[in-house]
């Protein structure tokens, strides 16, 4: 038996060239969804095949990769993808946001500000922000061509008419560089302001829907809103129970069957870094271990 041999970072070179050309077009036209010939990956659709293909196309041997799933470095999805690239590309991996050169993410943007040397790769399930309003691809494409985004404002207005406020809490639509309305992937709207004027390059890959799009560094990203109902971030009104942070996005954790619950940072690296530097919340935190969660 011969052990299977993979090309560097799994994908074959012709596929990488095709994805690389799509990435360059995506950067040149911020927010526009570039079609690409998405490949079958050794994981199911919905597990981040789009993000994995983008990461495979850009990754080099000197990169340091971080993978997060809902802010966490130690969920099955994040560990599997980290191990996948450690095995097929031999890259070093990290859980530290500051140490990473490439960060693949599912549904969160790290709390720590990103820097110029970093690339953030998003896993995207449904790239078309207008898809639930207009199912026909021919029509949504025409709407993007004409910058005809009134329908999206009607959708947000219907939120206000029904709930009294814009109830859209994730995948909150943004306008990129004053031109294309874009789906930021199902990140909480808490993260939307981090996309604006970000120092890092942001790339988005949708495997099943076969689209790649991008936000170059230092690009204007505006969350859609109304003058009398301005965009507002949302976060649970509590400090993190482990590190006491009052500025991070929180997960709610049910602790018993009598209504007990606690709130902790969704970004595990942010929380652990704060705990390591002495910050404490109301609950006793597990002792911080240095190589915790390395995959």
């Amino acid at each position: 038996m011969t052990a299977p041999v993979y090309n560097f970072a799994y994908l074959d070179e012709q596929t990488k060239r095709m994805i690389r050309r799509a990435i360059l077009k995506a950067i040149a036209i911020p927010g526009y969804q570039v079609p690409f010939a998405s490949r079958e990956m050794p994981m199911p659709y919905g597990w981040g095949t789009g993000g994995v293909q983008v990461t495979a196309a850009i990754l080099g041997p000197t990169d340091t990769l971080k993978v997060i799933d809902q802010g966490s470095d130690d969920t099955t999805n994040a560990i599997s993808i980290r191990k996948f690239f450690a095995k097929t590309a031999g890259v070093s991996t990290t859980t530290s946001t500051a140490d990473a050169t490439v960060i693949q993410t599912r549904h969160r943007i790290p709390e720590a500000a990103l820097s110029e040397g970093q690339v953030l790769v998003y896993q995207v399930p449904i790239p078309e922000p207008l898809r639930f309003l207009e199912p026909r691809e021919t029509e949504t494409r025409r709407m993007h061509a004409l910058s005809e985004y009134g329908l999206m404002h009607v959708k947000l207005y219907e939120d206000i008419a029904r709930f009294g406020h814009i109830a859209t809490s994730y995948a909150y639509p943004v306008k990129v560089n004053g031109r294309y309305v874009m789906d930021p992937s199902p990140t909480p709207k808490f993260d939307n302001p981090k996309m604006d004027n970000c120092a890092a390059l942001q790339l988005f890959g949708a495997g099943r829907e076969k689209r790649i799009y991008a936000i170059p560094p230092y690009t204007t990203v505006v969350s859609l809103d109304f003058e009398d109902h301005p965009f507002a971030r949302y976060r649970h009104e509590a400090p993190c129970a482990l590190c006491g942070a009052d500025d991070s996005y929180l997960d709610e954790i049910v602790t018993d069957d009598r209504g007990g619950r606690m709130f902790v940072c969704s970004d595990t690296d942010y929380c652990e870094t704060r705990q390591a530097s002495g910050h404490r919340g109301s609950e006793r935190a597990a002792p911080h271990k240095k190589d915790h969660a390395h995959g």
Binding site: M18, R20, Y32, A57, H144, Y218
Partner: protein, 201 residues
């Protein structure tokens, strides 16, 4: 004669293509900044080293290539491209995925290249334009996505109206062409989203 074309390619195709691509990606994401492509491949004149590396990183049988008269030259560059990348050469600039420009003074009007449509602005030609250097020549200011405020760059493109044409190109956004300027092993990208202004003096 053909054997000399065989030898001049990347030492390690996979990793060199990756590092070349990352330089091109970083350049496109940060217009106006000079990036170097290394390790560089040797290429037949008049192709510069960065042009050859870009070709090996991005060209294949899916990408029709258009060469200007200088690049066509005695046919060496075309033969090298066909052998090392498998890319077909086209005489129709409007069908080209990439166009290699050896003599910027003889640059055709940008409308002769594919500008994409309003529905598919990505179906456009990317121009690889060889210039003399980034150290002298007229200065111009760039603004737009990828640039923190503004940045000033210099490019000696000889006697050409390249920058006037590129300023007009930005106004057709999202349609338009994307440009990578090349001088030896250095590259500087001007994607269609970048707004250009000539500096005084």
């Amino acid at each position: 004669m053909f054997a000399e074309h065989l030898s001049s390619q990347f030492d390690d195709k996979v990793l060199s293509a990756q590092s070349s691509f990352r330089a091109i990606m970083d350049a496109t994401a940060r217009p106006g900044r000079i990036h170097r492509i290394a390790p560089t491949a040797e290429a037949p004149a008049p192709m510069m080293r960065a042009t050859a590396a870009l070709a090996q990183a991005l060209f294949d049988h899916d990408t029709p290539i258009w060469l200007d008269a200088t690049m066509r030259g005695n046919g060496d560059a075309g033969r090298w491209l066909r052998f090392h990348t498998g890319a077909p050469l086209t005489s129709d600039a409007g069908q080209a995925e990439f166009a290699l420009i050896g003599d910027v003074a003889a640059l055709p009007a940008l409308e002769t290249f594919a500008l994409g449509s309003s529905e598919y602005p990505d179906r456009s030609t990317a121009l690889v334009v060889q210039i003399r250097s980034f150290n002298d020549g007229p200065a111009f200011e760039l603004k737009g996505p990828g640039i923190d405020g503004s940045i000033v760059a210099q490019a000696d493109a000889g006697l050409s109206d390249l920058f006037e044409q590129l300023a007009a190109n930005a106004r057709t956004f999202p349609r338009g062409i994307d440009v990578v300027l090349v001088a030896d092993d250095a590259i500087l990208a001007i994607p269609r989203s970048t707004r250009l202004r000539a500096m005084e003096g």
